[in-house]
């Protein structure tokens, strides 16, 4: 173990594929192996001794153990030193062997490929030698060489083509293409025309507008529009068709609703600048529905309108109810909140109308909507959907007005015409005193902010009761409607004077708020 056969030289020899015989000598692998072997034997002997100590339960002498350990240590150190001296020519990984490396070193040292790498290798080799594996090796080599030549030739020709094209288009040159391809005038003009068409289409929509007669929806709607453009129960499409002529614009919405109420006698109420959409023209009816008879249609309409009423938001329903109440008796104090009182019942019975269709409804204080005021003026009984009587044609008309939702155009027209119808009647029917009174109410309506709200309304109520007495004797339905109108007018919501509309709207919420006490 102590024999060192030879001192290794300092210079690292050149690396070669096979270890240089000099290097081999330098490394003196043989001796290193022998020394490592003997070291291994010494260590195993010591370990056996420890085993024996452990078994026999005797404790070893500390000095002996130390001595053996230092001997082993020194030997290891010498071996490593020797290897280090010649390892400058090599890169060694791992540098040291310890517990971690010891397991993996055999795998690292083996030159066999990992299984995946091996499989890969095989596949590639197969691909390469596909045709020629069965031939003897020299022929394989020949074939492979031929292949290489072919590929080289193809690459060269491709490069030539590229160079030629470059020359032709002048891409390689610095000043760009020498010859600009010119287009003849005809082509230029055509392109110009197409371009202007396209640009106009994108920016203005020129050339894409359909003539009015083609604007009905006749084909099936694409999926994204199917639930956007709703179709109501009667089978009419709610899409207002674009009218090119300006005059009829305001009537499209009316036309829809006119179409709905085509069978009702209320057509006179609406502007008739545009005829109602004939039912047969509706695209859905053409293919899919049988056009119901007019009577059925009217029933349908009534039902629709009724259901529409039922769907109305609650405050609107309450407004309706409120109007009915007021018509019945203006003795209902404004101070009352939601509960109908016995008082009201009596008043109602007193003034039961011929139709018997009014109902007692809770009084709502949220009034303030202009359109409901309009409806009051037009009179008639607007029925609450919950408690139904029979609908009569007059009701129908008002329902039509009501079911139009918030369409201001329609309501202004609806408002205008009935009032114009009613006013002459009122003036003819009533005594002279009533008219000034109404006007007075109109005036007081505007000045409501100044007076105390409940006071003013009390005033009106009193006046209303006076009015009611004078009108009690009048039986005809028409008059009754006016009666109710006036009661409502007395309430301070006179709509004959359009200017009062806005102030009334503002006031009414005020009044309402002050009332519950």
């Amino acid at each position: 173990m102590e024999t060192t056969t030879q001192q290794p030289q300092g210079q690292p020899p050149p690396v070669a594929e096979k270890l240089n015989p000099e290097l081999v000598q330098l490394l003196n692998l043989e001796s290193v192996k022998t020394r490592a072997d003997s070291l291994f034997k010494a260590i195993s002997r010591i370990l056996e001794d420890f085993d024996a100590y452990g078994r026999t339960n005797t404790s070893p002498k500390w000095q002996d153990i130390l001595g053996q350990y230092s001997m082993v240590n020194l030997e290891l150190f010498n071996i490593v030193e020797e290897v280090k001296k010649v390892s400058k020519a090599f890169v060694v990984l791992p540098k040291n062997v310890n517990a971690e490396n010891a397991q993996i070193l055999p795998v690292m040292l083996s030159s066999k490929l990992l299984p995946e790498m091996e499989a890969d290798d095989n596949v590639k080799r197969e691909q390469l030698l596909q045709g020629v594996q069965n031939l003897p090796v020299p022929m394989q080599i020949e074939k492979l060489k031929e292949r290489i030549n072919l590929i080289a030739f193809a690459c060269e020709s491709a490069e030539k083509v590229l160079a030629d094209t470059r020359k032709a288009y002048g891409f390689g040159a610095r000043q760009g293409p020498s010859m600009l391809p010119t287009m003849d005038k005809g082509q230029v003009a055509k392109i110009q025309e197409q371009e202007s068409m396209l640009r106009a289409a994108v920016n203005d929509g020129a050339g894409t507008r359909l003539p009015p007669d083609q604007r009905q929806i006749t084909t099936a709607l694409p999926p994204h529009l199917v639930d956007v453009l709703f179709v109501n129960d009667a089978g009419k499409n709610a899409l207002p068709v674009a009218a090119n002529n300006i005059n009829s614009q305001g009537n499209t919405m009316q036309a829809q609703f006119m179409g709905r109420s085509a069978a009702s006698p209320s057509n006179a109420n609406f502007d008739t600048a545009r005829s109602p959409l004939p039912y047969s023209n509706s695209p859905q009816s053409a293919g899919m529905l049988n056009a119901p008879s007019p009577q059925q249609q009217q029933q349908q309409l009534q039902q629709q309108q009724r259901s529409k009423l039922m769907q109305l938001p609650q405050h609107q329903q309450q407004l309706l109810a409120q109007q009915q109440q007021l018509r019945q008796s203006s003795m209902q104090a404004l101070g009352q909140s939601q509960m109908p009182s016995l008082h009201d019942l009596q008043a109602q019975q007193k003034f039961q109308s011929l139709h018997g269709q009014q109902h007692q409804m809770p009084y709502s204080q949220s009034m303030g909507h202009q359109q409901y005021q309009a409806r009051q003026l037009s009179g008639g009984h607007i029925q609450h959907g919950m408690s139904q009587g029979q609908l009569n044609p007059a009701m129908n008309r008002h329902l039509n007005q009501f079911s139009g939702g918030a369409n201001s155009a329609m309501f202004t027209s609806a408002q205008g015409s009935p009032s114009s119808q009613m006013l002459p009647n009122m003036s003819s029917m009533q005594s002279q005193t009533l008219n000034p009174r109404m006007q007075q109410y109109g005036v007081s309506g505007t000045n409501a902010q100044r007076g105390h709200a409940s006071q003013m309304l009390g005033d009106q109520m009193f006046n209303n009761s006076g009015m009611m007495q004078t009108q009690q004797s009048q039986q005809p339905q028409q008059q009754q409607q006016q009666q109710q109108q006036q009661q409502q007018g007395g309430y301070g919501n006179m709509q004959t004077n359009q200017q009062n509309l806005q102030p009334n709207m503002l006031q009414n919420p005020q009044q309402r708020h002050q009332n519950p006490q």
Partner: protein, 218 residues
């Protein structure tokens, strides 16, 4: 506010343009299939009739998305003449599908509708730029999308647009115009109402873009 330019390109060169854009923008192209409805308000609802566009993106899953867009007037004057892009007010917002019904009930009428089919790239290069190349189709019958025919079969429209604010429209305009220079070999871009014609050498540029460049194996 937006900075916008438009140009035209022949349909045969659209693929080359797509390759060029793919390389320039570095993002995936998005399919574009938009049903654009232009609604006009009736004149007596205002001093002049106003126009609003509803765009329905038919490609979105699961539901088509709707956008409302109002395009205003362009900037005018000496300053505007010096800018090579058009700067105009534009307001856009996503809406629910009830928007169409709402506009109808407000009194708007359908003026015209278009179907745009093509592709678009959206990317960021000094500004959020969107480039779209689409063929514009019109419908012979109202809302009949499946029967749409191109307004100009051989030509498609290229729109480059970027949103801007009154404070930064100068930079955005510069970004858009510098991007447009990259597209010069294939398409001339200009302000929307100005005609430009096609690029004469577009065919050559398209050919060079479409070639494989020697990467094929034999």
């Amino acid at each position: 506010m937006e900075c916008v330019v438009q140009g035209i390109i022949e349909t045969q060169h659209v693929e080359a343009l797509e390759i060029l854009l793919q390389g320039l923008c570095g993002v995936q192209r998005e399919r574009l299939r938009v049903h654009e409805l232009t609604l006009k308000s009736v004149p007596n609802l205002g001093v002049v009739s106003s126009e609003v566009r509803l765009l329905c993106d038919l490609d979105q899953q699961p539901e088509p998305t709707w956008t409302v867009k109002h395009v205003g007037g362009a900037m005018r004057g000496a300053g505007a003449d010096q800018i090579s892009v058009m700067v105009r007010t534009m307001i856009e917002s996503k809406v629910s599908k009830n928007a169409l019904r709402m506009f109808y009930s407000l009194g708007y009428k359908l003026d015209h509708e278009l179907l745009k089919v093509g592709f678009a790239f959206h990317f960021q290069r000094a500004a959020q730029i969107s480039v779209s190349v689409s063929s514009v189709n019109k419908m012979p019958k109202i809302h009949a999308i499946d029967e749409a025919v191109p307004v100009t079969p051989g030509m498609q429209i290229v729109v480059v647009t970027a949103p801007a604010t009154p404070e930064n429209y100068g930079e955005v305009a510069a970004a858009v115009s510098s991007f447009c220079e990259f597209l010069a070999p294939l398409v001339h871009l200009s302000k929307p109402f100005i005609s430009t014609g096609v690029v004469p050498t577009a065919a050559a540029a398209a050919a060079s873009l479409m070639s494989d460049g020697g990467g094929t194996t034999l």
